[in-house]
């Protein structure tokens, strides 16, 4: 593998890792703070992609679609939290698994009824449609760099929100000791709703910005969900920092695995997970 090729693979793996992080961050926060297993998290990714497709074809602009889609998805997240998830924080994990599995079916069919079962493409905005030439015949699309930049910005934003703001302080307090936080006068229900909606928002944004390169198709949430599980297991439940490092690690292993060891590429990530489990059963950054 020459240098240009290596660079492309490296950029791809970072981009994939950052995208996984956007999903896994929400998942791990929802696990860590509310103690809920959310199998339907991948559905939000799919929802995002379909929103990007339908809104951008309606408005003619992916930017408008992403802004509008973010608002819609956060509202949807709040609604779901208030109507369903709120009542499952104290239930058995088993009930949560079933609830969210049922939701996958419901979301999948709603998608099928609303948008059909066809595969769609989303056009890259003109401004970002260029490619940067690396050698005579290799180049790297600007849009992928843009995606990574958006993810990095959101990751920094998330970090600042959690570690530097008053809301973040309440979130951390709520995760550490729910009852005590509530006794101190913090509206924990509001915090939970905020975290949940934030998780949904992040997953949907990931789906929206990924839609131009991944295309939009049914069941696109399932595979990404399982990858996110692997990321969360490796990183340690509840740890956003762990999720970031694990996501980048998974991105590297998956991307380079496909190039260097294509026969076993599908299994490499799981082997990585098995190795981490043997070494640290609670993940790398267990809180």
């Amino acid at each position: 593998m020459d240098f240009a090729n290596f660079l492309i693979q490296l950029l791809n793996s970072v981009q994939y890792g950052l995208l996984l992080f956007m999903l896994a961050a929400g998942l791990t926060l929802i696990f860590g703070i509310m103690g809920v297993v959310n199998l339907a998290h991948g559905s939000f990714y799919m929802l995002g992609a379909y929103l990007a497709w339908s809104l951008s074809s309606a408005t003619g602009s992916l930017t408008v679609a992403i802004l509008l889609g973010t608002v819609l998805s956060v509202a949807f997240g709040l609604l779901l939290e208030v109507v369903l998830f709120r009542h499952f924080y104290h239930r058995d994990h088993l009930d949560q698994v079933l609830l969210t599995f049922g939701l996958i079916y419901i979301f999948e069919e709603m998608r099928s009824i609303l948008w059909g079962d066809d595969v769609h493409g989303v056009k890259v905005p003109d401004l970002l449609a260029a490619s940067i030439p690396l050698t005579d015949n290799l180049s790297y699309p600007v849009y992928r760099l843009f995606m990574s930049a958006v993810c990095v910005l959101l990751a920094i934003g998330l970090y600042l929100l959690i570690s530097r703001t008053r809301l973040g302080m309440k979130i951390r307090a709520g995760a550490f000791n729910r009852d005590m936080t509530e006794a101190l006068g913090v509206n924990i229900k509001l915090i939970h709703a905020t975290v949940f909606a934030m998780g949904v928002g992040l997953a949907t944004i990931a789906g929206m910005i990924a839609s131009p390169i991944s295309s939009v198709y049914p069941n696109m949430g399932s595979q990404v969900l399982i990858m996110c599980f692997v990321v969360v297991v490796i990183g340690g439940i509840g740890s956003v920092r762990g999720a970031l490092i694990a996501a980048l690690l998974v991105g590297l292993v998956d991307t380079f695995g496909k190039v260097l060891l294509p026969q076993v590429a599908g299994m490499l990530v799981y082997m990585l997970m098995a190795a981490v489990l043997l070494w640290k059963p609670e993940g790398l950054f267990k809180q």
Partner: protein
């Protein structure tokens, strides 16, 4: 969680109902067409699968979201062991296939049973997905299309090609597995597993090596799931990666929940009820331009959400509550 699983000891009324159900199953071929025979056969196979999961989920308190991997593996084992032009003997392919599943469960279990709670759920799912992609991605292993099993296993003494014989063979397997698991539930091993469900720390403090117990349960459950998968492969003559998929695992969890878990009888009831509903939903007619049957996942999803909210103890739990109310009224 109470020390006793719900309905761990079955009330007399339910025992009678189960005995009657067994008689009904035995008599069923005399009044049903081949189509329904096949359908009920499939339900019985899934009931074995659901019972094997109940050993983990209801008895030991381990929620596995990857149990279908072991179900599918044995089906694939049968597909590989059956030559292209002649049947293979039941007497060695059955033990070999079950052993393959049990071995896979032993290896995967070695990694997963050291985790707890949410981790266990996610890790079982991830490993099952690994097995799924191993078969899905490799043409040698059948790829995404799966494999055909051209011949039913040759049993020597009886002819499994005969639908009636196969039906009774499945029924016998179902009964043997049920009786075995009920017996196991009240053995020292079963009591230890139930103890782990109630309080694993205390079990460890009392000197039980819970890792070994959980691994043994995981392996046994994997092997029994393999038995079901073997029968599935033999009945349908076809295996594909979907059998090991995440939906199949989730369906099994649903079957166990639906019937009522921790007593194996519930798993059987749940498997029958779930499969019946699935067929009903898929057969829904079109309303105008809206094809209700094509969107069966919507109804199933709503049904699952409804059950979780309204009847978390399952159908047997519901039935028992009704029976008890009658007792009180009388």
């Amino acid at each position: 969680m109470s020390a006793k699983a719900h309905l761990e000891t079955l009330p007399r009324g339910l025992q009678v109902a189960l005995a009657l159900a067994f008689v009904a199953l035995a008599a069923f071929p005399f009044m049903a067409s081949d189509f329904y025979l096949q359908m009920v056969g499939k339900m019985m196979i899934l009931a074995i699968f659901a019972m094997s999961l109940d050993l983990l989920q209801g008895v030991t308190g381990l929620v596995s979201l990857g149990h279908a991997a072991f179900f599918g593996l044995a089906g694939y084992a049968l597909a590989f062991l059956t030559p292209a032009s002649e049947p293979a003997s039941l007497w060695w392919t059955l033990p070999a296939s079950v052993a393959a599943s049990a071995l896979a469960a032993l290896v995967i279990g070695f990694f997963v049973v050291r985790t707890h709670g949410i981790y266990f759920i996610m890790v079982t799912m991830a490993f099952a997905q690994m097995v799924f992609y191993l078969f899905f991605d490799n043409k040698v292993l059948g790829g995404s299309d799966g494999l055909y099993i051209n011949f039913k296993p040759d049993a020597g003494l009886f002819d499994l090609d005969n639908k009636l014989v196969f039906y009774y063979f499945t029924l016998a397997m179902l009964s043997v597995v049920y009786l075995f698991l009920r017996r196991l539930l009240f053995s020292p091993f079963g009591r230890a597993l139930a103890g782990i469900r109630v309080n694993e720390h205390r079990m460890r403090a009392m000197g039980f090596g819970t890792f070994g117990y959980k691994l043994a349960a995981f392996t046994l459950a994997g092997g029994l799931a393999g038995l079901a998968g073997y029968l599935w492969g033999a009945q349908t003559g076809f295996v594909n990666p979907e059998l090991m998929g995440f939906h199949m695992s989730a369906h099994a969890i649903m079957m166990v929940i639906l019937g009522g878990m921790g007593n194996f009888a519930g798993a059987i009831v749940g498997a029958f009820a779930f499969e019946f509903l699935l067929d009903e939903f898929k057969a829904l007619p079109s309303i105008g331009s809206f094809n209700a049957g094509k969107h069966w996942q919507l109804w199933m999803g709503l049904f699952i959400v409804g059950i979780v909210i309204l009847a978390p103890r399952g159908l047997l739990g519901l039935l028992e509550r009704v029976l008890r109310r009658k007792d009180r009224d009388a």
